[in-house]
């Protein structure tokens, strides 16, 4: 450990926002160090095992807040290692959203049209592929058939999964053992390493301070590799430019903890948090009805009974993604898988006579687990989350050695959010309870509050300094040289899975970060091909990037 260690660019976090920045800046010639709070696992270390201490708990984090719990990655590769790899683009109307502030939330410079070339880049790099019906799991097929029966459409969702390698094991949240999921461990991160970037796992950034020459000094703790509650070291690194991509549950915490040294933060740091409007419903399918009403047959006499089989969400219903509908009435419904444990405790017994989430009736519900169908809904919420004072270290006070902690976020849903959730609950019921196909109940919000696997907007881009922490180039207002490229930069709920939008925004931010580094004397250029050497989509963005590079 040395207080004089220096790098050109320090990247905090190695998920989509961090990996994309690390790749391009390293490929452009900058010295790049990535600090990642979680461990670094490779494919053969991803275990099919619920045992505490296996990859399932090492790389995944569950942070309970006041009214909202966050689920996310905690490893090199971040969310890309634990997510389900559903990669739709956000619908056009999302970029025109006004939300709770009564005027356009997104910067004027960003629309679906202007973001599409950056979406294309990520689509090539991971890559993301369209799915065919033969790729769709039983659960996805059942949901599609139920949608069709209810007069709705349903689409196979584009995914970052190599279906030729996928075994449909549904252990995606423990990391992909078969390298079928196209996580960042297979593209941007090896690309960054090949260009000389350094990735340091179990390094948790605590705070930033400014150096005399206008750069930044980044303070970190080294975390114990089994008991994440323990710190086994600490250190500092100085950098000309800092890219914060610790995730929407951590980036604002680091900035708020840095306020004493850096000076006041923009008002929107740690405010306007969105849970992407997420909510889950569990349906218990009547197997006979699935055969009779939907004509489903697995070929062995069973109609469904396949909750365990698949690769997360593969089918979504987008009938309510209609820009002509008023805000808070637009949403998507997506078939999903959630593993047991967290995926079962919040499920409720339909019309329970006793307790809905524990006890005799709940045990009977769990007995029918293979006939469960989980439906994920994504509405437009009201950005009502606010972060309180930071915990002593990290972004949570850890309870267990791994995975479980208590964080400073509070989220009290507004009437807009509650009404939108009611509307989606009713929609799911109308699809799946039609003609007795299933019994459906939403997960309870009474135990750990609402929950999200896609935290967003806690340090967001925008044109209005009063309601956005970052300008439209992702630079932190009032703190030049600090950029934020993770989900916290996304202005609000997207009504679809956000990973591709987070990634496209990160790609779009890179030329501006390169320019800032150049202005600070770093020898770096922009224009590397994709991490796999692909140049097709790159040609379209180079003229766009040239504008940003000129400022």
């Amino acid at each position: 450990m040395s207080s004089s260690e220096r790098t050109d660019v320090l990247v905090v976090g190695s998920g989509f926002g961090g990996a994309i920045a690390a790749y391009h800046l390293a490929a452009g010639g900058a010295k790049v160090v990535v600090l990642e709070r979680g461990p670094w696992l490779k494919a053969d270390e991803f275990e099919h095992d619920f045992l505490l201490g296996s990859s399932y708990t090492r790389i995944f984090d569950f942070v309970v807040g006041d009214g909202m719990s966050l689920l996310g990655g905690n490893c090199v590769g971040g969310g890309s290692v634990v997510y389900f790899a559903a990669m739709p683009r956000a619908p056009r109307f999302v970029f025109e959203r006004r939300g709770s502030i009564g005027r356009r939330m997104w910067p004027a410079a960003i629309s679906r049209d202007t973001l599409d070339p950056w979406y294309d880049l990520v689509t090539d790099a991971l890559p993301i592929t369209k799915q065919d019906w033969k790729d769709v799991s039983f659960a996805g097929g059942l949901f599609a058939a139920a949608c069709d029966h209810a007069g709705r459409t349903a689409n196979p969702v584009p995914v970052a999964v190599d279906n030729t390698r996928c075994t449909n094991c549904n252990w995606m949240m423990a990391g992909c053992r078969f390298d079928a999921k196209r996580s960042l461990l297979l593209n941007y991160l090896p690309g960054a390493l090949a260009h000389g970037a350094e990735i340091r796992p179990l390094h948790e950034v605590q705070r930033l301070e400014r150096t005399d020459d206008g750069g930044y000094r980044v303070h970190y703790n080294v975390v114990h590799d089994v008991d994440y509650r323990e710190q086994v070291g600490n250190g500092v690194i100085e950098a000309e430019v800092v890219v914060l991509a610790a995730g929407a549950g951590a980036t604002p915490v680091i900035l708020k903890r840095s306020e004493a040294d850096l000076g006041p933060m923009p008002y929107a740091v740690g405010r306007y948090f969105s849970g992407n409007g997420e909510r889950l419903n569990t349906a218990v399918i009547n197997e006979e009805k699935a055969a009779e009403l939907l004509g489903l047959d697995r070929g062995d006499g069973r109609a469904y009974a396949a909750n365990q089989i698949g690769k997360g969400p593969v089918v979504a219903s987008w009938d309510n993604l209609d820009g002509d509908l008023p805000e808070y009435h637009r949403y998507s419904l997506e078939q999903l898988y959630f593993p047991p444990g967290f995926g079962t405790i919040l499920a409720q017994v339909p019309d329970a006579a006793g307790p809905s989430w524990f006890g005799v009736e709940k045990k009977d519900l769990v007995r029918q687990w293979q006939s469960w169908l989980t439906v994920f809904t994504m509405i437009e919420d009201d950005n009502e989350g606010v972060f309180g004072p930071p915990p002593p270290t990290g972004n949570a006070t850890r309870i267990s050695q791994q995975m479980l902690g208590h964080g400073p976020l509070s989220y009290h849903p507004t009437p807009n959010t509650l009404r939108a959730w009611d509307e989606t609950d009713a929609a799911v019921k109308s699809i799946l309870e039609r003609d007795g196909l299933a019994r459906v109940t939403p997960w309870t919000n009474d135990l750990v509050g609402a929950y999200t696997v896609h935290p967003l907007a806690s340090c967001r881009i925008g044109d209005d300094p009063a309601t956005s922490a970052l300008d439209d180039r992702h630079e932190l207002r009032g703190h030049p040289g600090i950029f934020v490229t993770d989900g916290s930069a996304v202005p609000g709920a997207l009504t679809v899975n956000p990973a591709l939008t987070i990634s496209a925004l990160a790609e779009r931010a890179i030329p501006g970060i390169v320019r800032a580094a150049q202005q600070r004397g770093v020898k770096v250029s922009y224009g590397a091909p994709g991490p796999g050497g692909d140049t097709g989509a790159r040609r379209t963005v180079l003229p766009l990037a040239a504008k940003q590079l000129r400022g």
Partner: protein
Amino acid sequence: MSSGTSEEEQARTITLEAFADTIVPGEKRSPTDRAVAGAAEGGGAVAAGAIELLELPGTGLAPDLPNFATALNAHAETYAAEQDLALDGSVPPFVSLSFAHRTELVRRLTAIAHPERPLWVLLALFCNMAYDTGAHRHTAEAMADGHPGLTAMGFGKPDTDGLWRFSDFTYGRRLANSHPHTTASGSPA
């Protein structure tokens, strides 16, 4: 209840067992079993290994388990007094409650307005995980040994290398029409 432990430890264990049994009820292990109420057929959270899981260092709860048991019994005494229930002094107060009263007390402790709700939800979470995931054991081994929760759920078996693969996973045919405004890349317009 293991033999050779102090009375205090036994009292702690059967109190936590009674709590776990309230979350995922099971059948009595013997006719004299007091902790498990026998409210449901088959093994519940206790048979699934709730106490073993709670005692693992990984949960972070192990040092506080005596406090959980003490607090639960104090709540049970208050509850019994309020309900005018006679407690059997031969077992801890929570164990002395009937299954219906245990259930009602746990419902109150985990209700949204209860100041200790996060603690009792946390304890319930791990009891639930013992049954649904057997998180104190390697899953493939737990499956091979007939873990009551995973077995009752019909959790599919792994291949011989301990990894799960499902070669039969799809109906293989179109089951709905796609949205008319889907783009060439498969996204919403």
